[in-house]
């Protein structure tokens, strides 16, 4: 089942990646090779096998709902490409 360039373009938008025409071309070729390679998983009979998402049994871990110190706002904003005294700044979402 080969991926078309259009499908790869759709995936790129889902992944929030802008691909140049050259990149799209190369990505389509490479993704098809990799997908073809992973197709060999079909050889394994997995009837009645439960998926293993995690190597350990994972359970919710709770702690008491107590107020604790958190990262000061100034520290949290320090690495942001654009911010004011209070907020991260982004381009307008609504016109």
């Amino acid at each position: 089942m080969a991926l078309t360039k259009e499908e790869v373009e759709k995936v790129a938008l889902l992944a929030r990646l802008r691909l140049s025409p050259d990149e799209l071309e190369l990505m389509t070729t490479q993704l098809n090779k990799i997908v073809e390679y992973v197709e060999q998983l079909r050889e394994v009979d997995t009837t009645d096998v439960e998926p293993l998402a995690h190597p350990l049994p994972v359970t919710n871990v709770f702690r008491r709902d107590e107020v604790r110190p958190s990262l000061p706002r100034e520290e949290a904003l320090r690495n942001a490409p654009d911010h004011d005294d209070e907020f991260f700044l982004v381009p307008p979402v609504l016109e």
Binding site: L41, V44, T46, P51, L71
Partner: protein, 505 residues
């Protein structure tokens, strides 16, 4: 003691000489910094060397010692840190342009533990971008060369950490292992590297690649130093709900006790097709060493291990595509300069900030999780993952340790695999199953090829049996001296430069 003698000591020796007052922390740190200044321009192991910070830490340790204060188990021992671990106030990039200026406001738990143990954080090491790769060539900033042969890759993704130890830039280093990223570069650089059981070491502050596979672990020249560093970083952490509340044994206390009646299972299919002859020979000779020590050797089979790489290349990219969604140019890191709107800002930021391999994996993961393909790819891979885990469960009913090569080949040439993703992925063919199964593994030096390239022996143990793993590794190490060999950097650099000027002329 000369600077050159100092950098060839083990962490345990450094710690004792410091304790006994025969070396100051400043002398130790200065010796390593001098070595880094002389040779890292050839090797390229570090993205950041914290000269001032390391010297400051050393002087503080000397003062504390003079006052007779108690000192931690890694006092005055330099440790190099893979640049995937958050270090408060010290730039942490994951070798990605998208995080080129990120300065974490907090320490990863393993970093806090290193500081509490009085280790000296000497710098941040190069890696494949976001730990995606097996040669460190996917770094967004620089390549790292193998200290045994500068034409060759150090392996990856923790190639900078492995090379830093091999080049004696630091006696110890931390790496992370998602599919072999500690064990494979350890093998290619001729040092020891250990991947702990999933859940043994906290992942808090480890920048996430594939959360169900990632684990932080130690690099060192020998098994006792590896045990010492694991001891410091292991243990439950309330900040990581997947770290397990289970006692951490005193690894060093039992390390020199051989495992009585050790049963070793040799993975025959890992010594058949696809493995380099010289690698296979070195591993066979290691098996003979164990046999001579009285271990019971038997062949075992992991029938589904050949599906490890395809299963991994669904599971890991799927998790990565989700984890890397956070790099959007809003909270930290790079933001594109020109864009039309919000979505365009995301798309351009990520296009300009991520390298080719990261883009490939994010695309692959997004595809595998997308509507219509989720069951065929992601769920199928998770089912195969369980079958792989069950192969190990069955093996460990019969044997105590599983043994094989770490990597199918010794260090390969820089550039050799970079244009062929699948050939690069196959570098991890023997390591990746341990991550899928969540078990513990170690790579130790077991010989050299005719060209003088190191070969790694891989041992695997059931979950949380690091003590057994280390003792079994130590049994071999005590009988051999591969771990005492160091690359002669002066000669390696001279040869490399001669070759370069010859090809230029």
């Amino acid at each position: 003691m000369t600077a050159s003698e100092i950098v060839h000591l083990t962490a345990r020796q450094l710690r004792s000489l410091f304790e006994e007052g025969r070396l100051s922390a400043e002398e130790i740190v200065s010796a390593y910094l001098e070595r880094i200044r002389a040779y890292d321009r050839h090797v390229g192991a570090f993205l950041l060397v914290d000269e001032e910070g390391a010297l400051q830490q050393a002087r503080t340790l000397d003062e504390r010692k003079a006052r007779g204060e108690p000192l931690g188990p890694l006092a005055a021992v330099p440790v190099a840190i893979k640049d995937v671990l958050c270090t408060q106030g010290m730039r942490t990039t994951c070798a990605s342009r998208i995080l080129h200026n990120f300065v974490p406001p907090y320490d990863a738990t393993v970093i806090r533990k290193l500081r509490e143990a009085d280790a000296v954080l000497i710098g941040k090491t190069n890696m494949d971008e976001f730990a995606m790769g097996s040669s460190t060539e996917n770094s967004g900033f620089q390549i790292t060369r193998n200290p045994w042969d500068l034409d060759r890759a150090p392996g990856g993704s923790s190639g900078g950490s492995a090379a830093a130890v091999a080049a004696c830039f630091s006696p110890m280093a931390l790496g992370s292992d998602t599919g072999g990223s500690i064990r494979q570069p350890a093998a290619l650089c001729g040092v020891v590297g250990l991947k702990p059981t999933y859940g043994r070491v906290s992942r808090y502050g480890l920048v996430a690649f594939a959360s169900s596979l990632d684990q932080v672990g130690p690099f060192a020249w020998d098994v006792p130093d590896t045990a010492l560093l694991l001891q410091v970083i292991a243990g439950h952490d309330p900040m990581d709900s997947t770290s397990v509340e289970i006692e951490v044994p005193d690894y060093l206390a039992t390390l020199d006790q051989p495992v009585g009646g050790l049963r070793i299972g040799v993975v025959r299919e890992w010594l058949a097709d696809g493995v380099d002859e010289q690698v296979a020979k070195a591993v066979e000779q290691a098996i003979d060493v164990y046999r001579a020590l009285g271990a019971k050797i038997q062949d075992i089979t992991l029938p589904h291990s050949k599906y490890g790489i395809p299963a991994y290349y669904i599971v890991a990219p799927a998790e990565a595509s989700s984890n890397l969604a956070r790099y959007d140019g809003v909270h930290y890191g790079y933001r594109a300069a020109d864009y039309d709107d919000m979505v365009d800002m995301y798309c351009r930021t990520r296009a300009e900030g991520f390298g080719a391999e990261v883009k490939r994996r994010v695309m692959l993961g997004t595809y595998a999780l997308s509507a219509g393909y989720y069951e065929a790819y992601y769920l199928k891979a998770l089912k195969v993952r369980r079958v792989i885990r069950e192969d190990f469960d069955r093996a460990f009913e019969q044997v105590d340790i599983v043994l094989g090569p770490t990597s199918p080949t010794p260090a390969f040439r820089l550039g050799e695999r970079i244009d062929d993703p699948i050939s690069m992925y196959l570098s991890d063919v023997y390591t990746v199953t341990a991550n899928l199964a969540g078990i513990a593994g170690i790579s130790i030096p077991c010989g050299f090829t005719a060209d003088g390239l190191p070969v790694g022996l891989q041992l695997l143990a059931p979950p949380f049996e690091e003590e057994r793993l280390l003792r079994a590794a130590r049994m071999y190490e005590r009988e051999t001296n591969w771990h005492t060999r160091r690359p002669d950097l002066e000669r390696v650099v001279a040869q490399f430069e001669a070759k370069q000027s010859a090809s230029a002329g």
